[in-house]
């Protein structure tokens, strides 16, 4: 991607811990660094100008849970197409999960991802496997992978199931100051579940994954984190009781953090019934109940849930257009995350813009020990320009990901990212229709 080292952004309203988004400013970027913030700044030679037209500007958003599928599943997504999708969604930084083929379980695969993304606007941080070959049997070379650029360790897609292996993983990673992210699922309780176990699964005759399969594993991991002093990051939390467990553990001083996917505070398992077994509402953890959705929002409001993420999980059309029980789990999410957050959190006055930026800009980077972008002179420019009121339709031809497995296709959404800036690169999101 070409660079735009010098850029003048006009008429943008900064939102950050110091800015509440009320005042409009101009921001000058020189050689990728914020050089001047003021009003009425004039274009200089060799400078591109972008008029934000009164839209908001914040530090670049980060999604700490995506699947970019490279290496091995390039028919679903690549680092390049994943970055395209991220930029369209307003994300300048992502952490990608290691369930690739080969898995990201050694330093060379970590560096492969870093190299692939070198010339992208989006910073792609690999999450290395917690265990060798993602087999769950013994811990991977975490230190070497960290040196290569890994920011956390996880066997996502599967849990670290063996409690002793998890104990060692937490002990070892805490020495490195890096979190273990666990896909919380007690497989003996969850398999062969295809949706949430509840009223709807009882009616549809689909094998259910009970909430307790997630909660039991979280409870174990909280105890192990307390015992080892390690940092456990609970991946894609989805039930009320799971949020309660994390809330209590935080009160007890355990080093635990968590994230929620946008679909888990928007949709419920009733979608599987009302959409007649549409596989674009099949994911893991599965869509839960309205009470769980409410608990996700409560957890975001009181700070139990630190991060909004997407679990962006691309799958090819032919993989998803199959019998429900054969369909793979997951949906793409980067491109709709902001609109869902606007609808469920901002418009309903659950979170302020500033609080939303905590979940999208600050907290994920704090958890992963990454630099937090600020709108300040002398800082590297890592920025997202966005609005909260524009209505647009998420048509199939609007999708930037290589895959199109979204339950939001065809829907009219509100709020979108207009442009992103990072690594001296600038991208404007233009709607195709």
């Amino acid at each position: 991607m070409e660079t735009t080292p010098n850029l003048l952004i006009q008429n943008a309203k900064p939102v950050s811990s110091n800015h509440d988004g009320d005042d409009s400013v101009d921001i000058r970027i020189k050689e990728g660094v914020i050089s001047e913030i003021g009003s009425g700044l004039k274009k200089q030679d060799g400078e591109q100008v972008f008029d934000a037209g009164g839209a908001y500007i914040s530090g670049g958003w980060m999604d700490m849970h995506v699947h970019f599928r490279e290496p091995g599943y390039e028919h679903k997504e690549t680092v390049e197409t994943g970055c395209r999708s991220a930029m369209f969604g307003g994300f300048t930084e992502v952490a990608c999960m290691p369930n690739t083929k080969p898995a990201i379980h050694t330093r060379d695969v970590v560096e492969f991802i870093r190299n692939k993304s070198e010339h992208q606007l989006v910073d792609v941080h690999p999450i290395g496997c917690a265990t060798k070959e993602r087999k769950g049997e013994s811990i991977a070379e975490m230190s070497d992978m960290k040196e290569g650029g890994a920011v956390a360790f996880s066997d996502d897609g599967d849990p670290v199931y063996n409690s002793q292996v998890m104990r060692v993983a937490l002990e070892y990673s805490s020495m490195l100051g890096v979190p273990i992210i666990n896909h919380e699922e007690d497989l003996a309780l969850s398999r062969p579940g295809h949706m949430n176990e509840g009223d709807v699964s009882a009616r549809l005759g689909l094998d259910g994954t009970p909430g307790i399969a997630e909660e039991a594993m979280i409870a174990r991991d909280i105890l192990l984190a307390g015992f080892t002093g390690g940092h456990i990051h609970v991946a894609h939390i989805s039930t009320r009781k799971a949020v309660d467990l994390v809330r209590r553990a935080k009160e007890d001083g355990v080093n635990v953090t968590t994230e929620v996917c946008t679909h888990h505070f928007d949709l419920t398992d009733k979608e599987i019934e009302s959409r007649n077994f549409d596989t674009n509402v099949k994911m893991h953890p599965p869509l839960r109940t309205q009470d769980d959705v409410d608990a996700m929002i409560e957890g975001l409001v009181d700070g139990t849930i630190d991060v909004i993420c997407t679990d962006h999980a691309p799958h090819a059309i032919e993989e998803k257009e199959v019998e429900f029980i054969y369909a793979p789990n997951g949906i793409i999410g980067l491109e709709t995350a902001w609109s869902i957050s606007v609808k469920r959190l901002l418009q309903s006055n659950k979170l302020s813009l500033q609080q939303l930026m905590d979940k999208l800009v600050i907290n994920p980077r704090q958890i992963l020990n990454l630099e937090i972008p600020e709108i300040k002179e002398g800082q590297s420019a890592n920025l997202t320009i966005f609005n909260t009121d524009e209505e647009w339709t998420y048509n199939k031809n609007e999708v930037r990901s290589k895959s199109k497995n979204s339950p939001y296709l065809g829907e009219t959404l509100t709020g979108r990212a207009l442009a992103v800036y990072n690594k001296k690169r600038f991208a404007i999101n233009t709607l195709k229709n």
Binding site: R203, L206, N276, E318, I325
Partner: protein, 315 residues
């Protein structure tokens, strides 16, 4: 009643009884009466489907449902092709979507489908234009079985409305129970499901039936006792859902002494029976059992629904 002026049958498919109104169900059962009479004629045939081509797509083992559908189709003069395979063998080959679209390109009017995955009939409606009939999708629905059960109850007890119906056995994995609860409740019956707790869904109340773990109480209460087939594979491997067939029979098997003690109930079973498990052999063969009538009625009910979905008008 369906006889009144403003009712018309407007269903294109039979995906499940969840989509059928009380009037739709009554109308199908009414039509089935006519076909039941046809079956007693010297030449039990009506050429009402002679311009229709039907494919029976069976991805799961089935003997009686497949035979019943095929016979119903042939008695109505349809051209019939059968496609039977195990779902696992096609999992890695051609996709279901491609299979159905290829078959559909051969100018098929109706598709009868059985599959282990809930929702496959719904999925097929998104792939092709043909009328889709669900012959069982996983543990979701088995609507023609429920229709024939309700038809049998009408024949034997006069009506479904107001009757107390017990369904006994493996509730979690039964598509028969789900379709029957939906249909019977729409027709005004009271349904109790009875079986071991480990064979009931955790959110069993969502099914809308009374729940009992006590066979004696249930048999004392009911007008109809319908036993479900225990699938023997449920007690193999590490995730046994009950300890043994022996203990199952002790707790939930219908015995001759039950028939003597509670003289009011009729015995039903969707088949195939595990004699000595769901019921004693003598119970299945007694004059209280209408199990073979269910099979005959199944033919009539399937003829009726095939006829209605083929776009036919009242005969």
């Amino acid at each position: 009643m369906p006889e009144t002026t403003d009712y018309s049958f407007n269903q294109k498919h039979l995906l499940g009884l969840a989509d059928y109104s009380k009037e739709d169900i009554e109308y199908v059962l009414e039509q089935a009466k006519t076909f039941r009479e046809v079956l007693d004629r010297p030449v039990p045939k009506v050429p009402t489907l002679r311009d229709k081509t039907i494919v029976n797509l069976f991805y799961e083992n089935s003997t009686r449902t497949r035979l019943s559908f095929e016979l119903a189709q042939k008695r109505m003069g349809a051209d019939v092709v059968n496609f039977s395979t195990s779902s696992s063998s096609t999992k890695k080959g051609e996709s279901l979507k491609d299979t159905i679209r290829n078959i559909s390109s051969m100018k098929i009017d109706m598709v009868v489908v059985r599959h282990e995955s809930p929702g496959v009939p719904h999925f097929l409606t998104r792939c092709v234009d043909a009328a889709i009939l669900n012959a069982g999708d996983g543990a979701h629905e088995h609507p023609t079985q429920a229709l024939l059960d309700m038809f049998t109850i009408q024949q034997e007890l006069g009506a479904v409305e107001g009757k107390k119906i017990a369904i006994i056995g493996d509730i979690t994995h039964s598509r028969v129970v789900r379709s029957n609860i939906i249909g019977m409740k729409k027709l005004g019956a009271e349904v109790t499901i009875c079986g071991p707790k480990s064979l009931m869904p955790n959110h069993v109340n969502a099914l809308g039936a009374n729940v009992s773990y006590n066979l004696e109480e249930t048999l004392q209460w009911c007008d109809v006792a319908m036993a479900l087939r225990i699938q023997l594979e449920r007690i193999e491997g590490s995730t046994d859902l009950f300890p043994s067939l022996r203990e199952y029979h002790q707790l939930f098997g219908i015995r001759m002494d039950h028939l003597e003690k509670y003289p009011q109930f009729t015995v039903m079973h969707p088949g195939p029976i595990n004699r000595g498990v769901e019921m004693e052999s003598e119970v299945a063969d007694s004059d209280r059992a209408v199990i073979l009538d269910q099979v005959t009625n199944g033919l009539a009910v399937r003829m009726a629904i095939l006829y209605l979905l083929s776009g036919g008008v009242r005969i």
